[in-house]
């Protein structure tokens, strides 16, 4: 019972919830395919979030706290965008989880 997604003719393994099994498999097409599955269209602002998550993960091996993410997005896009409500508009399944998934990061675990 293995799960996977098709990206540019390649079959990439995911877990039961659709998160990539191997971080190294990620390419921008992964986010597009996952967004399509969720019926979501990725705008530049979505990509700002994905890119920040990937940068942060590369440095710290973990997704940033929601607060760290909102602050960073506020800095990049303007203060009116640096809040949880805006991030939920972008990622209605929850910015921490849905955006992490698109960015190829593992799902945040614990009491979150």
């Amino acid at each position: 019972m293995s799960n996977s997604i098709e990206v540019d003719g390649k079959t990439l393994a995911t877990d039961e919830e659709g998160y990539l099994e191997n971080l190294a498999d990620w390419e921008p097409g992964v986010a597009n395919v996952m967004a399509e599955i969720d019926d979501c269209e990725l705008t530049d602002n979505h990509w700002e979030v994905i890119n920040f998550l990937r940068e942060y993960y590369e440095e710290y091996q973990i997704a940033p706290a929601v607060r760290v993410l909102t602050k960073a997005i506020g800095k990049k896009l303007g203060k009116e965008y640096g809040n949880g409500k805006y991030l939920y508009e972008l990622y209605p399944y929850g910015p921490a989880k849905q955006a992490c998934k698109y960015a190829g990061l593992p799902k945040p675990t614990g009491c979150v």
Binding site: E17, I62, A65, V66, R67, P92, T109, G110, C111, V112
Partner: protein, 499 residues
Amino acid sequence: MVKKADFEAPVLGDYTEVPAVTPGAMQHSQPYVAKPAHNEALGYPGELVDNWQEVAVNKLGELVKGSRALRVYLDSCVKCGACTDKCHYFLGTGDPNNMPVARQDLLRSVYRRHYTVAGKYLPKLVGAKDLDEEMLDNWYKYFHQCSQCRRCSVYCPYGIDTAEVSMAAREIMDTIGKGQKYCNEIIGKVHKLGNNLGLPEPALADTLEGLEEDVEEEINVAVKFPLDVKGAEVLLVTPSADFFAEPHIDGLIGYAKVFHQAGISWTLSSHASEAANFGLFIGSVDNMQKVAMRIREAALELGVKRIVFGECGHAWRVGYSFLNTLAGPFDFLDSNYPVPQHIVEVTHDLIEQGRLKMDASANDDKRVTFHDSCNVARASRMGAKSGGQFSLPRDVIKASCNHFFDMPADTIGEATFCCGGGGGLLTDDLVELRVKGAKPRMQALKDVHEQHRITHMAAICAICKSQFSKVLPYYGFEMDQIISVHQLVGDALVFNSDS
């Protein structure tokens, strides 16, 4: 707009009615099974072992032999029915297997078959059953529809504790290699990295640094969030969700402001960067002990005098009831303070001593109620007086805001309803169960909302906070109506900005 899943959320009526029984209503609900690596990291077989029936029955025998309480719980039920309408999962789903007595019977029937004389020879007469595949399947499903909140045990005339029964069942399943992914993956992360999130030390340090900047920017006071500071008086052990999630992080800011204003030196630890102890949820003393030992090790390493727990429900159960047994003795700590102490006790003491300067009108934009978290309410205590776990948080809230109203009496205190996500069920694969299980609490919230125009519900548990953030929108509320008690405290504290 928060996206919702594909099932029908219950509709709230005028009061919580006992639903019609719907057999099999939640037969489809089960969490993801742990992968071999998750199980092995905890000392369990990776996959279901070949002779699982034999191993499971032997483990059950071992458990009842080792715990007289469990044996009494399995022996003494008289099927009086007092528990049947007390479980939030039954009230939310109508599935009769979510009546506590039926849930217990899943284990009890196998116990009778193998460990009672009548069950060995006349199984049909006494409801004794074999552990076959169907039974194991039902164990996995319905022991993961129990949040171990112990509400049913309050109403049971024999005091039968379904939480203990469900913990035993989960431990047996782990022993045969059928663990639950959510709990076991998380416990593995604590063993490896020190917290449920898998947050490494540099990321924690970065997050805390960011918080110092934010708070200073906001109130113009250099409130510190110290990490691994040797010689601090207090080691604060808090759920890692406090470093990551909303509204948890506002609670963490509140703790820091309290320590700052009271002039208490404190530190977090990157080694014990987690209060939660999911070893409890899977009934594993070994894992619970291993997790708890990190706290002892950190306290010794940092040379602290006190251990304080942040807002985490089941952690407080483990801390208050078991920490000394699991990781004691703590004779190296200051005996003038309880070991461990709850952050609410710390704040309460400071308020009583007049050491905090508070202005409750800072929260005048809020009308607040309090959700008693199950493990704090029914499995621990606070302060020196009986019932302190109920009065202390309320005292602290009332000192922090002017508009406080309780939910109906049969839904708070000892009779509190679980948030619907406790006991290792706070996972996306159980969202339907979580939403439906929250129904009784949502009903009570609706009542105070209508009567007293309540805007916010405060809690002292990371699971409750995450669970409510997720389920509130299903019932027509906003996700940010759940807040941390110490967010209220933090916002009410008055600082002289030049201090």
